[in-house]
């Protein structure tokens, strides 16, 4: 899986491309650890190019969510492909994760909270 990180503003944008499974999930956690080490705790994951996700991939996302919570931060997801949406529905993880249709919507949600 390809992981691109755009760590410029207040929210760190992470773009995932490929399959999110055990191996790539571990890589993702390591990549995010580097971000956390920079005291960043607002993460947006763009899943637009994630074609496949399995139990282990979900487990990685859940563990990232736990880490974000510990750091009193925020994690948002966007651009879920229909299969990824399906797996989020059946596991009801959509109740835990903040999921947006588009990245723009997700990022603007950070702005509105900041503005207030």
């Amino acid at each position: 899986m390809e992981i691109k990180v755009k760590n410029e503003g207040q929210v760190c944008e992470v773009y995932l491309n490929g399959r999110l499974d055990l191996a790539s999930g571990t890589n993702l956690k390591e990549e995010l650890k580097k971000i956390f080490d920079q005291d960043k705790n607002m993460i947006h994951l763009n899943l637009n190019d994630v074609e496949f996700i399995n139990s282990s991939g979900l487990g990685s996302l859940v563990s990232i969510m736990k880490e974000v919570r510990l750091r009193k931060g925020r994690l948002t997801l966007s651009n879920l492909a229909s299969y990824v949406k399906e797996i989020f529905e059946i596991t009801q993880l959509s109740h835990i994760f903040e999921i947006y249709e588009t990245q723009e919507e997700a990022l603007s949600s950070y702005q509105s909270v900041t503005a207030n």
């Binding site: 399959r19 499974d21 496949f52 399995n54 059946i90 109740h95």
Partner: protein
């Protein structure tokens, strides 16, 4: 003309009739004639004993052009019949500016009641031309007339009256409240310096009216003066000063550049919000950006159901900003709250859920509202609190399906490997969302024990369990599920075979290629089609030799699909497989073949495709033209 005069004469006589209908018809008809005689008739009718006729006459009079109506109606203002007098005044107000000169003409009549009535009427007309006359009446010998003149000047709202109102304020004590109110209504900042002076008094009535007037003028320059009164010992004065500040703040988009002792006024402000006062609500919610504290949080919870949806969202966001402290306080209010507020509280707390909050929420899992129980199950599960396990297991037996569903899903988030046997029970639930939630929980756990469970269930007698097992194995999606899914390619149920093939393609394990190739011969068209697509995903072009025999499949649509799939590789090496189908007896196959060959760049097919350009079927002709265009483009 004579006829008209004669007719109006007849109508005027009918106004004296004892027959109500006859009088009504006369008034109705007189309304059509805009002549002095007709107007005079209508004026007479406003004294008619019947109220319906009087109203009808007044309605017609208010629409009449010319000055006859106001000229005549003005005399009714001194009428002893209060009904006729009020009706005349009402018509004069409706006529508006045209009445003003006639009212001013009579403004000095002897009867002070009539003078007052004229002044009141001028106030209702709100015409700037009456300002001078009204200013004169500020010095009338009768105090009622004076007070009415001050009020009327406030209604007219002209800054021309400021000096006169200030002067009368200083000379006549009895008119002071009205003069102050008028200055406020005029809303001109030139009055402010006077008002600042006037409110420095011990007379509370003058202070109230002055502060209110300053607020109504709405200038931010008054803030400093008003802020002094925020600390006044008299609560009414300080609250009035705050109300004036609120008016100014709302006038200036909420910008205030000094601190207001908000805690002192929290009762006043939140009562205003509760009573749905839009000014106070807007001001209070604007202050939430910088106003925190226990009282505020409790008050915000109290007013949540008094405000509209937009303000509710703002309050929730504000509470969210407070963070975990708000959560603890919100939880303490939870039990006594309405279902609506409980929902809002949970929505806020959701952002801060941790083990401590989850422990407190466990105390509410027996809430009588199933929607709340469902939310609680999700929230407790999302805390990953180990003690949540027995609670969620209990909730998985709730009488309401949605609650059971949430509880099963939450058990999955806790990733409790030892609970697989418990979760399997959920697959027998009567509701599909509960069954799928139990499966979802098992997917989250995804261990070999779970895979083994689903593997067995795939061949369980229950078709629903078979469906869920195939779906779940695909979603677990690691190497441990490949073998069970390969076994499922031979499942008796068509849907299981199909979904297993799709899952295997997604997982992308090469062990699946040969079993899927076998499925190309499946009796089911849907399975064969899935097998083609899956092989394309798994093998790309290498699958073509395996699928090419389906070009002769018994099913037209499988043949069609296979041609399309091969064409999509855009490899001319495969054109030999497809070329023969240019002469297929089915038009749809010939069309697909032309398209596929053009994608492959097969120029050898051009002469044959050319012949189709004259076919009797328009779709064939179109496809031929498109294929030739593509092939020509490649030359």
């Amino acid at each position: 003309m004579n006829d008209l005069v004669e007719r109006i004469g007849e109508l005027l006589s009918k106004l004296q009739s004892s027959d109500y209908l006859e009088r009504e018809e006369a008034v109705e008809e007189l309304g059509n004639y805009d002549t002095d005689e007709a107007v005079a008739g209508l004026v007479i009718a406003i004294e008619d004993p019947n109220s319906g006729i009087r109203e009808l006459a007044a309605e017609h009079l208010s629409k009449m052009k010319g000055d006859t109506a106001p000229k005549l109606l003005i005399h009714f203002l001194g009428n002893d019949d209060i009904t006729a007098r009020n009706l005349a005044a009402e018509v004069l107000v409706k006529i508006g500016s045209r009445s003003v000169p006639y009212l001013i003409e009579q403004i000095d009549v002897d009867d002070y009641d009539v003078r007052k009535f004229i002044v009141d009427t001028l106030g209702l007309i709100k015409d700037e031309n009456s300002v001078d006359a009204l200013c004169q009446k500020l010095w009338d010998e009768n105090i009622n007339v004076v007070c009415s003149a001050a009020e009327a000047l406030g209604e007219v709202g002209s800054p021309k009256a400021i000096d006169a109102l200030v002067a009368v304020f200083e000379k006549i004590e009895d008119v002071q409240p009205q003069a102050l109110e008028a200055l406020g209504k005029i809303g001109d900042t030139r009055a402010l310096e006077h008002l600042y002076r006037f409110i420095e008094t011990d007379d509370p009535i003058i202070q109230y009216a002055g502060i209110e007037a300053i607020g109504n003028i709405g200038s931010s320059s008054s803030m400093e003066v008003l802020s002094k009164y925020l600390n006044d010992g008299d609560e009414s004065v300080s609250e009035l000063a705050l109300m004036a500040i609120i008016n100014i703040s709302n006038n200036t988009d909420g910008n205030i550049d000094f601190d207001i002792p908000l805690d002192k006024f929290s009762k006043f402000l939140f009562n205003g919000v509760k009573e749905k006062d839009p000014e106070i609500t807007s001001f209070t919610i604007n202050r939430l950006k910088s106003w925190f504290g226990h009282d505020v949080i409790y008050n915000l919870i109290d007013v949540l159901d008094s405000v509209d949806e937009d303000n509710q969202k703002l309050i929730i966001e504000s509470l969210g900003q407070v963070g975990g402290t708000a959560s603890t306080m919100l939880i303490s209010k939870f039990k006594e709250s309405s279902v609506e507020i409980k929902n809002i509280i949970l929505e806020i707390i959701k952002q801060f859920i941790d083990e401590n909050i989850a422990r407190k929420l466990i105390g509410f899992v027996d809430d009588e509202d199933p929607g709340i129980r469902q939310k609680l199950a999700h929230m407790i599960g999302s805390s990953y609190l180990p003690e949540a396990l027995p609670v969620l297991k209990k909730m998985a037996g709730d009488e309401i399906g949605h609650v059971r569903s949430a509880a099963y899903a939450a058990l999955g988030w806790l990733c409790t490997e030892n609970e697989v046997e418990f979760l399997v029970k959920g697959l027998d639930d009567k509701f599909v969302d509960v069954r799928e939630a139990a499966a979802g929980a098992m997917i989250m756990i995804g261990t070999e024990a779970v895979v083994e469970k689903f593997r067995k269930l795939l061949f369980d007698g229950n078709t629903e369990k078979q469906r869920i097992s195939a779906l779940s194995l695909g979603m677990i999606g690691d190497s441990t599920v490949v073998q069970p899914l390969i076994e499922a390619i031979n499942h008796p149920e068509e849907e299981i075979r199909r979904s297993s093939i799709i899952s295997l393609a997604r997982i992308g394990d090469e062990r699946a290629i040969e079993p899927i190739a076998v499925a190309l011969n499946d009796e089911s068209k849907a399975v064969r089609k899935s097998a083609i697509n899956s092989l394309v995903i798994l093998q790309r072009q290498e699958c073509v030799p395996k699928i090419k025999f389906l070009l002769d499949d018994e099913d037209l649509w499988i043949r069609y699909h296979t041609i399309n799939v091969i064409g999509d590789f855009r490899n001319n090496e495969f054109s030999e497989y497809v070329l023969p189908y240019l002469n297929d007896e089915q038009d749809v196959i010939r069309i697909a073949t032309m398209k596929a060959l053009s994608k492959m760049g097969c120029r050898e097919a051009m002469s044959t495709i050319d012949q189709f350009a004259n076919d009797s079927n328009k779709d064939i002709v179109d496809a031929a033209h498109q294929a030739i265009t593509v092939l020509d483009g490649e030359k």
